[in-house]
Symmetry: C2
Subunit: 190 residues, 2 copies
DNA sequence: TGTTTTTAATTGATCCGTCAATCAATAAAC
DNA sequence: GTTTATTGATTGACGGATCAATTAAAAACA
C-alpha cells in the first residue's frame, strides 16, 4: 500500500529512531533492524533511503547538532549585552532539549565515534568551532584573554554533560548552569 | 611448546593488548581475534584465560583505574599542605601516563560503556567517588563548600580529557593543568 | 474517459561476512 | 599419568546489505 511522497517522513522517522535507539542500546549495539522496527518499517527500506548504517548514524548526529545550533541562535537573538549573550549560550547548552536522556547518550557516542571516524570528527569540529566562536565573541568586550576562558567554559560544559549522562538523578540542569555561570563570573573578575 | 606458569604473563599481555586495541579500533570494533593477535596468542587462548570478551574489556578498564589510583596515591603521598594535595591530584589527573593516546581512548569508551553496562558503571562510580573524596578532603580546610567546587573540578577535568582525545595537537597537558589550577584558585578566592 | 506504462514504496528472502565461543587434539611439564 | 598450555577447526548466531517481487499511485496515452 505505497502512498506517494513518503521519503521525508521516512527519513525523519529513521533519524528519530536512530537517536532513540542509540540511547537505549548504545551506538555499539545499535542495529539497523532495531532502528527500522522502531521507525515502523523494514530494514530494507531503511537501507533504501540511507544507503548504509553509517549514513544513518551520521544523519542522527547532524540532526542533534542542527537542533542545538537552532536553539543557540534563538537564545542569542534576544540578547543585547555581551553578558546576556554569554548567559544565553550557557542556557542553550543546558537547555531541556539538549538534556534529554536520548540526546545526551547520542552526544556521548558522538564523541567516541569522532575519535575513529573522519566524517564525524569533522562534524564535531564544526560544533566546537561554532561554540568557541560564539563564546569568544561574547567574551571579547569583557576580558583580554577570551580564548582561554572560552576553552575552559567549553570543557566544563562538556564535562558536566558526561557526568549527567551517567547519573539517573533528574534536574541537575540548574546545578550545571550555576556551576558554569559561577565559573564565568570568577573568570571575568580581575 | 607449553611452558609452565604462563597464566600471569598471558593475562598481562591480554590486558595491555586490549587497551592498545581499543585505542586504534575503538571499543565498538575491537575483536577478540585482534586482541589475541596483538598479544601473540590464539583467540582460543584468550578465551581460555578470560572466559569472554566482556571480561577482557572490564579487566582493561580495571587496569586503567588501578594505574590511575596508584599514580594519584603516589603523588599525594608527598603532599604536606592541603594546597599541595590539590595540586598533586590535578597533576596526577593529567599525568603523562593518563594522557597517552591509548589510555585516553580507553577512558572515552569507558564512559560510553558505563552508560549501558551495570558492572562498568559501578567501576566508574568507584573512580568518581574516590576522586570526589580526595578533592573534598583536600578542599575542606580551604573553603566552606568543598562539594560544589569538587564537582566543578571533576567535570572540568573530564571535559578537558574529552577535548584532548579529539585533537592531534600534542602538549595540551600544561594548558589543561593551568586551566584547572586557575579554576581552583578562583574558586578558593572570596 | 478508459487503458497502459512508468515510477515510487515496500518487504520477504537471502547472501556473505564476521565474530564470539566451543571443542577436540597435541605437546610439554610435573 | 595427570595437569597445564596451546591451537586449528568448527559452530552457531547475527548483522549489514542486496535483490527480486509486489503494490499502488501517477503519468502518458488512446
Amino acid at each position: 500500500m505505497p502512498r506517494i511522497g513518503m521519503e521525508p517522513q521516512r527519513r525523519e522517522a529513521l533519524v528519530r529512531a536512530t537517536i532513540a535507539e542509540i540511547a537505549v542500546s548504545g551506538a555499539r549495539d545499535v542495529t539497523v533492524a532495531r532502528i527500522a522496527k522502531r521507525a515502523g518499517m523494514s530494514p530494507a527500506l531503511a537501507h533504501h533511503y540511507f544507503g548504509s548504517k553509517d549514513r544513518m548514524l551520521l544523519a542522527a548526529m547532524r540532526r542533534i547538532l542542527s537542533d542545538f545550533g537552532a536553539d543557540a541562535r534563538r537564545a542569542m537573538a534576544q540578547a543585547e549585552t555581551p553578558r546576556a549573550r554569554l548567559d544565553a549560550i550557557v542556557r542553550a547548552s543546558f537547555g531541556p532539549d539538549n538534556f534529554d536522556r536520548e540526546v545526551v547518550a547520542a552526544w556521548l557516542n558522538f564523541y567516541v565515534q569522532a575519535h575513529g571516524d573522519a566524517d564525524t570528527r569533522r562534524l564535531l569540529h564544526v560544533y566546537h568551532a561554532r561554540l568557541r566562536s560564539n563564546l569568544v565573541h561574547a567574551l571579547r568586550p569583557l576580558t583580554d584573554d577570551p580564548a582561554t576562558l572560552a576553552e575552559g567554559i567549553g570543557a566544563l560544559i562538556d564535562g558536566l554533560y558526561m557526568r549527567q549522562a551517567l547519573r539517573r538523578t533528574e534536574l541537575a540542569t540548574d546545578r550545571s548552569v550555576a556551576l558554569v555561570t559561577d565559573y564565568i563570573e570568577r573568570g571575568l573578575a580581575p
